[in-house]
């Protein structure tokens, strides 16, 4: 039986990844070790000493932080995995142009790259989950329930990011997007502190970000914390980002490759 065409492109991404998998897996492992040490043990002891545990649902800061960090990692990885392969394939190496000379078409490329990003995000978040367990945070079941929505939040941002990258003429727009879009979202979506710290009128701004919904889902599913919206609504919102993003990515990648 013939292999579905998007899977052929996904396989190529995977083969490409084999070249760098050791360095990549190591950094995926080291990143949470550093964050959990700095944020949890360094900052967390001070926060816990403040005695204001109500803001963290009565949990120790590190326990409260962990699912949020996981979602933020999925989000950051999704932004990077969405942007860089598209830049390389359409602009830096231009290898995607030659792919079109095979039975693989532009939509197969978009679908294949998003499938591969899903696998990568599950890897990144999965490794993060293992590190959490090594730090003695959470239970295997609870961590697994945080990994899934975190990877999904990553995919929800990877798709529009791929569209954005395909539309760019050069690299400068990419650093602007990371500096003014991705990093502020990373900081202000309830990962490191509850958005209830902000004045009430500004809080709905956070509701618009996919990361905030990812954080809500990760905490809600793994810690059983109460969420602002029903969880299906947050999943639906992420699905909207994914669907619109994938549609835009398909249009942008096609426009970039087919002339």
């Amino acid at each position: 039986m013939a292999t579905p065409i998007p899977l052929r492109f996904m396989e190529a991404q995977a083969r490409n990844y084999r070249r760098i998998w050791r360095a990549s897996a190591f950094s995926n492992f080291l990143n949470p070790v550093l964050y959990l040490t700095a944020m949890g043990i360094g900052l967390g002891t001070l926060v816990d000493a403040g005695g204001n545990t109500a803001a963290f649902g009565g949990l120790a800061y590190l326990e409260w932080l962990a699912p949020g960090l996981l979602a933020a990692t999925g989000f950051l990885s999704g932004a990077g995995e969405g942007a860089f392969p598209v830049m390389a394939g359409t602009k830096w190496l231009k290898t995607w142009h030659s792919v079109l000379n095979t039975p693989v078409g532009p939509s197969d490329i978009t679908a294949g790259v998003l499938l591969w990003i899903s696998v990568r995000l599950l890897m990144v978040c999965g490794i993060y989950g293992v590190v959490l367990l090594l730090f003695g945070i959470g239970t295997p079941g609870g961590v697994a329930l945080a990994v899934l929505p975190s990877a999904y939040a990553g995919l929800a941002v990877a798709a529009p990011m791929a569209a954005f990258a395909a539309n760019l003429e050069d690299d400068t727009g990419l650093s602007t997007m990371f500096r003014f879009g991705v990093v502020p979202m990373f900081l202000f979506s309830g990962t490191f502190f509850p958005i209830s710290q902000f004045p009430e009128w500004i809080q709905p701004a956070a509701w618009l970000t996919p990361l905030w919904h990812g954080v809500e889902l990760a905490r809600g599913m793994s810690l059983g914390m109460e969420t602002v919206f029903p969880m299906w609504l947050s999943f639906g919102y992420l699905t909207l980002w994914l669907a619109v993003g994938a549609w835009l990515a398909d249009l942008a990648i096609r426009a970039r490759l087919v002339t």
């Binding site: 492109f9 070249r19 190496l93 290898t95 030659s98």
Partner: protein, 308 residues
């Protein structure tokens, strides 16, 4: 006569207001080497990409293997080999992996690809570079690898867009030799080039393209006979003297072309023409007698040289 492998009628490609390919007609028969000769911007690459079913057709009809690229692009591409103008190889991957990954796009099985890669590395004279990163290869090697990549699916038709542009003469000759071998194996080749020697060496039949149109078509021999004289007398005069000399050459040759640095006389007998020139008391600094080439045909048809 067998059905043509590729047939175009009124084929047209536009980019906004610019018409890159302007209602061209051609037919390419199985087993032949067909060339598109023309300067940069003549519309050759756009034509190749439409034949390769990767670029939308704006008007006219095109069939490849009897299939319609608008509807059956995937089926066409599965049977085609394409050597694009830019290599578009993955420089960070080894030679072997570039071929393997490309083979998988055609859904070839591992057991099919591995022996095929051995054959192709031998064909491309790259056996020793199997594990080398592509970015470490020379320009000629990359080009041969790109051709090997295009052959992974054992295509019936191979499209080569300027296969030797940018290569040194030795690398070009190696490449031509490989293309001859393909032709002998019965593979149909379509080649674009702006090198007339390449077109003469390789092509059974060719067309001359200029500004999106086909201005002449035939075998290299036919084109030269129809559009040029047998011999060319090239004369170089001292700097600044050429303008004064021109009126005194009137009537020596049936056709005369003035280039920036020399005068070309198109004649059937160059020796006789040379005699006439010296009888008129003209002494060129340098003289070359040669046979007419496709370059002369191109100059005749378009009033311009191929390589500026």
């Amino acid at each position: 006569m067998p059905a043509p492998l590729v047939a175009a009628r009124g084929l047209t490609k536009k980019f906004g207001d610019f018409t890159a390919v302007d209602h061209i007609d051609f037919e390419i028969q199985p087993g032949e080497v067909y060339g598109f000769l023309g300067p940069n911007g003549a519309g050759k690459s756009s034509t190749m990409r439409m034949i390769g079913a990767t670029s939308p057709i704006d008007a006219g009809e095109l069939t490849v293997f009897g299939l319609d690229p608008r509807e059956q692009g995937r089926q066409i591409r599965a049977r085609l080999g394409v050597v694009p103008q830019e290599d578009q190889l993955d420089g960070e991957l080894p030679v072997h992996d570039n071929l393997y990954i490309y083979g998988r796009y055609f859904d070839l099985k591992r057991s099919e690809i591995l022996p095929r890669i051995d054959e192709l590395l031998e064909f491309a004279q790259l056996e020793e570079k199997r594990k080398a990163k592509v970015e470490m290869l020379s320009g000629g090697m990359k080009r041969r690898l790109t051709i090997a990549r295009a052959l992974i699916n054992q295509p019936e038709l191979v499209i080569l867009d300027e296969p030797t542009t940018g290569l040194d003469p030795q690398a070009r000759h190696i490449l031509w030799d490989r293309l001859y071998r393909l032709k002998q194996e019965g593979v149909t080749l379509i080649i674009t080039t702006h090198y007339m020697d390449e077109a003469e060496q390789l092509c059974d039949r060719l067309c001359v393209m200029d500004r999106g149109r086909i201005v002449a078509e035939g075998t290299p021999r036919q084109l030269i006979e129809e559009h040029s004289h047998r011999e060319v007398l090239e004369m170089r005069f001292p700097v600044g003297a050429q303008a004064d000399v021109l009126p005194r050459l009137a009537g020596v040759a049936p056709r005369q072309e003035e280039l920036a640095d020399r005068v070309l006389l198109y004649v059937d007998d160059a020796d006789a023409a040379m005699g006439e020139v010296s009888r008129r008391g003209l002494v060129p600094e340098a003289t070359v007698v040669r046979r007419s080439t496709l370059e002369d045909v191109f100059l005749r048809l378009t009033g311009r040289t191929l390589v500026d």
